[in-house]
């Protein structure tokens, strides 16, 4: 709560062209997201999924004075939050591996039960590595996966954030998904 005005001011500054506000904004939002995510990771039952959209929206509500921030800045906030979310989840998964506590790590459903292949999960760290590779091939595809998967954005929101048409985003999403799935199977 104490960050409330900070974030709002940073977003407004960002909206007015102060690019330095970007990194400061990252720092504040990261701290908040990490705190909430940790609490969730501790509290939730193991079979619950962690819905990034919910966390990010909550963070937004907590941190931003909606009456002072324009919509475009909102998209910026969510793009930042999506990148942070990836980092938080990956950090968490790494910590698990390092601690070797034996508990289950975070997994990504690779295919749903109705899919043509045997359902199985893929490790979040593997996904992260594959995503890194995809980003070197096509940075835009990598960014899109971050926004949609870790940021929970819809096609339209991602299009807005990337400055692309929804049609292009849909096409890119097919490309990215097929590439990642192939890489991970």
């Amino acid at each position: 709560m104490s960050h409330n005005n900070d974030v709002t001011a940073l977003l407004v500054a960002w909206g007015q062209g102060d690019r330095a506000a970007d990194s400061r904004l990252m720092a504040v939002v990261y701290e908040d997201l990490r705190r909430v995510a940790r609490r969730r990771l501790r509290a939730e039952r193991p079979d619950h999924s962690l819905a990034p959209t919910a966390l990010v929206h909550e963070a937004y509500l907590r941190l931003v004075d909606l009456r002072r921030v324009r919509w475009q800045n909102r998209a910026q906030f969510f793009a930042i939050a999506a990148r942070l979310m990836r980092q938080i989840l990956v950090d968490h998964a790494r910590a698990h591996v390092a601690a070797k506590r034996g508990g289950p790590g975070w997994k990504v459903p690779l295919a749903d039960d109705l899919g043509a292949t045997v359902p199985r999960d893929v490790d979040l760290l593997d996904l992260d590595a594959a995503l890194g590779k995809l980003t070197t091939i096509d940075a835009r595809l990598g960014e899109l996966v971050v926004l949609r998967f870790f940021g929970g954005m819809t096609v339209e929101e991602a299009a807005e954030s990337l400055g692309l048409s929804p049609a292009t985003v849909k096409r890119d999403w097919s490309r990215a998904r097929a590439w990642l799935f192939r890489e991970l199977r």
């Binding site: 079979d47 997994k107 459903p109 799935f181």
Partner: protein, 957 residues
């Protein structure tokens, strides 16, 4: 691989995906040729795509359990016959936020109770449980007839449960799913809720989660459920902040709106400490919903609901529920203040207000407006009919004094399924009050008369062979109906269904029928009145000494009648006049912008959004006293000036509340399929596409005061931005061919003058042309040097003019006849002018050479409006009167233009308007393959008719 190589792989992948699976192999062989690795790469991606299923569509999940375990309804954990302490479980009632609810029998006291089993999570921390118990005891001490009692807390075998009063009834949420509540019932329920809140607040207990699903409507009145449980939940639930309980998104999934969100106060959303005033906010939102049937704050996502709560005001109650007393609006408004310091100080204050309203139904008289009135009237006939928001009415609240013995009863009628009401036209009640006629559209879009028998149950029925019917009026014996359709005055006998065609009437402005079977009607806007026998014959003019007379309505003697004069160029002369078949002398009775109808002892007319009744002596033809509001929000068709109401001799009043209908911008292809929905919903009047169809400019009404401003939407960005901010009306934008400028009309200096602004820069308006006649731009020449516009002249009606934007800048007329011409638009090669004219009686689309050489050709077949050229000039589009978009192929020869027969493309859902509104409801993309259409929303098409019985009881003291 290089990035070029990847791009190649991905491009082939996209292209192959777009093809049917069977054709992909051949496609890839063809594309890849000898490049085997390329083909393998693409094929393996295609295979991965096929296998990926829901990959990345879910969320990161902690491994260990399969997804299947989480899905599907969870079976209740207790079943009939099981026992919790002294409680016998009888049945499962439902699952709520805290856990499962069961109906059970208390074996000690032999009474039914409700048992709420707290989910194990909520109480697994010992300190949390202690706090939980403490709070529960405080709530259990709350004893009030309007609060569902918490009897006790129990614990058995690791299960915590609450034992509560068992209530029979339905929740307010279930009730509201059926629509708004009658005013008296809403008020009574509101008072009961306020009593409960006042009692709890007095003991320091805040509900924190007041919402319709927490109000139970029992035979003994409303009871509040789950008092204070929100707090318990928050305390028990692993240290979540009070705010976060409302976002159980990890349970409901992203994008779903948590149930309580729409009722949360701003301070609750911001996570601040909550006090009793948060309950008042929720109370205001619930009260609003009870009365209007709509949520006070709505949105398609959590973020948009939150943003609405934090920053916007719900639409006025009076718009949705015209009979609601203004004081009720004030109560709601004060509850919904964003800053809690501006809300009512306590629930007790709210309770006193509501009790006062219940005891003092309001009296509202509406004074004649001054200058603002005049401006609105000017606007009236320039602006399109923007019709109807929903309402349902039950009891009339405009009683001047409470009169327990005389009640004004009101109800509402919805059109039958598949039929949409034409809310631009008044419903017509028969003189005996037994039947209601309205104009509707069937599933195919055909416009017909529908009749609803009010004394017999059953849906409204269409009257056969009334295609295109409008402006119905009844014979005095309630057995026949006059109407206008397909350019003719017709009658229909409602028993036999026999149709009789009497006379031409190409742009009718109403009719009336007297007991001698004389029909007086206005065949066109500017031709004056005619009379004809209902049995047939030749129409003869009826002279009246006033401007163009519209909407005649006979007085009881069958000789004298009242009528409306719009006086478009001298709005101060507009009003309702009285004249007679026997003399042309006309005298003004009231100044108003709407037509008037006579009811015994009264004239009813519209003014400033309200329906007024003024005492009227049928013998001396004098109005007396001040007009009194009969309903607070009644619609007006601002084009025809018809108030959207009618009244029977028997005292039944019917009306549409709506004055403003929502539309949305949609892209459709040539078959009418929706291929995109680029814009937000709003009251859009007229639109114009940028040259490359990448942006649209439109005039949109600000919802509260209905001021139109220009807005620009860039499709790639998806967010509209406002171009003009003037408090006056900025309307009818037309984008220039080079995309840099937008011409429009503005009422900054009435009558409407021509302006332009820089398309890329808000606030750059400049005056183009000022004259003493109203003007509306209709099109530019391709080189941007000529601006075509409509000008409306009292003698010659609508004319087409050109304003050269270079050189002399002296405007000159292009088409000026005694008929109305509008929508002048030049072909892309600058040689042909398309426009519409009503020279044959009906509006048709014509093309003539430009400059005029004498060549002229009719393009439309059965009426047409809004011509638009395709950019290559090879096709002309127009809107047919049945709202179907038509296409005509054209071929330009040296001196003539060949036109092919019109071809119907698709039916639209534009909000219909007449020709004097020169709005553009659609625009073709440059290639003519898709169209941006301003389409009425489903909500705007489902407005019920309000029916008030014994309306005049409201006037008796």
């Amino acid at each position: 691989m290089t990035s070029d190589r990847w791009e190649h792989v991905f491009t082939l992948f996209d292209a192959a995906l777009a093809r049917p699976e069977a054709e992909r192999a051949a496609f890839l062989s063809d594309q890849c040729g000898e490049d085997g690795p390329l083909r393998e790469e693409v094929e393996s991606l295609l295979a991965a795509h096929g296998d990926a299923g829901g990959f990345l569509s879910g969320h990161p999940t902690r491994a260990g359990q399969s997804k299947a375990d989480q899905s599907g309804p969870i079976p209740p954990s207790l079943t009939r016959g099981m026992r919790l302490g002294v409680f016998d479980i009888e049945s499962f009632v439902g699952a709520g936020g805290m856990g499962e609810v069961y109906k059970a029998r208390d074996t000690r006291l032999d009474r039914h109770v409700a048992i709420k089993v707290i989910s194990p999570d909520a109480a697994n921390d010992p300190r949390g449980r202690a706090r939980f118990a403490h709070e529960a005891r405080a709530i259990a001490r709350l004893s009030h007839p309007r609060i569902c009692s918490l009897h006790e807390m129990g614990h058995q075998d690791g299960v915590d449960f609450l034992v509560m009063e068992y209530l029979e009834g339905e929740t307010l949420a279930a009730r509201l799913r059926k629509g708004p509540m009658p005013l008296t019932q809403a008020l009574r329920t509101a008072i009961e809720i306020a009593e409960a809140l006042a009692a709890a607040h007095a003991q320091g207990i805040v509900h924190r989660d007041l919402k319709p699903s927490n109000v139970m409507l029992t035979a003994g009145g409303a009871k509040l459920l789950d008092f204070g449980l929100a707090r318990l939940r928050a305390k028990a639930g692993s240290g979540l902040s009070p705010a976060s309980h409302a976002f159980p998104s990890s349970e409901t999934g992203p994008g779903l709106i948590a149930g309580t969100l729409p009722y949360m106060a701003p301070e609750q959303l911001e996570g601040n400490e909550v006090d009793a005033r948060a309950d008042l906010f929720a109370f205001g939102a619930v009260l609003y919903e009870m009365i209007t049937g709509r949520k006070a704050f709505e949105g398609t996502s959590q973020a948009s609901v939150i943003s609405a709560i934090l920053s916007s005001q719900p639409q006025e109650v009076a718009v949705l529920q015209p009979l609601a007393p203004p004081a009720l609006d004030q109560v709601i408004h004060n509850c919904l203040a964003k800053d809690r310091n501006h809300r009512w100080a306590s629930a007790h204050d709210v309770l006193l207000q509501l009790e006062w309203i219940a005891g003092h139904p309001s009296a509202a008289t509406v004074a004649a407006g001054g200058d603002q009135n005049r401006r609105r009237e000017l606007l009236a006939w320039t602006i399109a009919a923007l019709a109807g928001l929903a309402l349902v009415v039950l009891w009339a609240w405009s009683l001047r004094r409470p009169t327990p013995d005389v009640r004004t009863h009101a109800s509402s009628a919805l059109p039958p399924p598949g039929v949409s009401l034409e809310t631009d036209e008044a419903p017509a009640i028969s003189p005996d009050g037994s039947r209601l006629l309205f104009v509707g559209h069937d599933a195919t879009g055909k416009q017909l008369l529908y009749m609803l028998a009010l004394d017999v149950a059953g849906p409204a029925q269409p009257l056969a062979d009334t295609d295109g019917a409008s402006l119905p009026f009844w014979s005095p014996d309630s057995r026949s109906v006059g109407f206008f359709g397909q350019g003719k005055l017709k009658t229909v006998d409602i028993e036999t269904g026999q149709i009789r065609t009497l006379a031409d009437a190409g742009g009718a402005r109403g009719g009336t029928w007297n007991r001698d079977d004389v029909i007086v009607f206005a065949p066109r806007p500017n031709t004056g009145l005619y009379r004809i026998s209902a049995a047939g014959g030749q129409p003869a003019p009826v002279k009246v000494d006033a401007g163009a007379a519209w909407f005649p309505s006979f007085l009881p003697d069958g000789r004298r009648f009242v009528f409306f004069t719009a006086a478009p160029t001298q709005p101060e002369n507009a009003g309702v006049f009285v004249a007679s078949l026997d003399s042309s002398t006309a005298r003004r009775l009231v100044t108003t912008r709407s037509h008037a109808v006579h009811a015994p002892g009264h004239l009813l007319f519209w003014r400033e959004g309200a329906l007024l009744a003024q005492a009227f002596d049928e013998t001396t033809l004098e109005v007396r006293g001040n007009p009194v509001a009969v309903a607070n929000t009644v619609g007006l068709n601002p084009v025809t000036n018809q108030g959207l109401f009618s009244v029977s001799d028997s005292g039944t009043l019917v009306f549409f509340a709506g004055a403003v209908g929502e539309s949305e911008l949609v892209w459709v292809d040539r078959a009418g399929r929706r291929i995109g929905n680029p814009g937000p919903k709003g009251v859009v009047n007229s639109l114009s596409l940028s040259p490359e169809a990448t942006s649209v400019v439109y005039d949109q009404a600000e919802p509260r005061n209905r001021t139109f401003d220009l807005w620009r939407l860039d499709f790639a960005r998806g967010i509209p931005s406002r171009l003009t901010f003037h408090p006056s009306q900025d309307i009818f934008p037309i984008w220039s061919p080079d995309g840099t400028r937008i011409a429009f009309s503005s009422l900054r200096e009435p009558p409407p003058q021509l302006y332009e602004l820089n398309a890329n820069s808000a606030g750059t308006e400049k005056l183009l042309l000022k004259t003493n006649l109203p003007k509306t731009p209709s099109g530019w020449s391709s080189d941007g040097r000529l601006l075509f516009y409509d000008s409306i002249n009292p003698q010659t009606g609508g004319d087409i003019w050109v304003l050269p934007l270079v050189g002399t800048r002296e405007p000159y007329p292009v088409v000026r006849t005694t008929a109305d011409e509008h929508y002048g638009t030049l072909s892309p090669d600058g040689r042909w002018l398309a426009y519409i004219s009503n020279e044959t009686g009906a509006y048709e689309v014509y093309v003539e050479s430009f400059p005029a050489t004498g060549f002229k050709r009719q393009v439309s077949a059965q009426g047409g409006f809004e011509p638009h050229w395709r950019r290559d000039g090879k096709e002309l589009f127009y809107m047919a009167p049945n709202q179907t978009l038509m296409a005509v192929g054209v071929k330009s020869n040296p001196t003539t233009l060949e036109v092919s027969p019109p071809e119907a493309l698709f039916a639209t859902r534009i909000k219909w308007m007449e020709i004097q509104a020169v709005a553009h409801h659609y625009a073709p993309a440059p290639n003519g393959q898709r169209f941006l259409v301003s389409s009425a929303t489903d909500e705007a098409r489902s407005v019920p008719v309000t029916i008030v019985l014994n309306w005049s009881a409201a006037l008796k003291k």
